[in-house]
């Protein structure tokens, strides 16, 4: 992603990740839901996401 960095929230919206419960890790660090607006993703950051789905 070149140029401007975007927040986690903006990335999720862009990717149409609308699941209510999701685990996001940036460079291996877990990002809590309340931090989605204030954590920004820069060039070269490794972003990973997992949907958490009920059932067990």
């Amino acid at each position: 992603m070149a140029g401007e960095s975007i927040s986690v929230r903006e990335l999720l919206t862009m990717m149409k990740f609308t699941f209510p419960l999701i685990v996001i890790k940036i460079n291996g660090q877990l990002i809590k839901k309340e931090d989605y607006e204030r954590v920004f993703i820069g060039d070269g950051d490794a972003v990973e996401a997992i949907h958490l789905i009920s059932g067990g």
């Binding site: 685990v23 890790k25 949907h51 789905i53 059932g55 067990g56």
Partner: protein, 204 residues
Amino acid sequence: MQSKLEKLKGTCVGIAGCGGLGSNCAMALARVGVGSLVIADFDVVTRENLNRQYYFLDQVGQKKVLALRDNIARVNPDVAVEAHDLRLGPDEVVHIFKNCTLIIEAFDRADMKLMIIETVSERFPDKFIIAASGLAGYGENNALRTRRLGSLFICGDETREVSPEMPPLAPRVGIVAAMQANQALEIILDDLALVGDDDAWDEL
């Protein structure tokens, strides 16, 4: 191999939830000889649970943690089982699992899954957590997989949510529970490093 498995005796595994995932995972780990298990659940065994959970008809009405402790003892009495009959929140997770080598997330509700993943990541950065996501219904064997994100492993198809049309059933729940147990063995027996190669987020 047998001498390698001896290593399991000195290992403690925490299991959060004793439903379909937790009961089956606990039995698998007990059979291979994990030294101690810390199990936690607040629920009682119901008739409906028997379509996938490792309990028996004569245990309906019993506390799950006590029934599971009994079942483990009937298979392998050498396993030390610490049973906690309680509802887990962040404080309880930290308190009861602090001496465990690794933790298995075996809840049914997605919000509880998130709670324990966040708690373990924050409070126990040196422990692996093996979670499950997506196991409802039947079929699609090959959709079930394991992904790694640092100290977090996720087993399941990451897609199929439980609903009235898509209930959790013994085969798929059992497969995912066994995947969690199998991942635990790999972590323990192969001394996996906490900082390892993550699986790529190929959906992006």
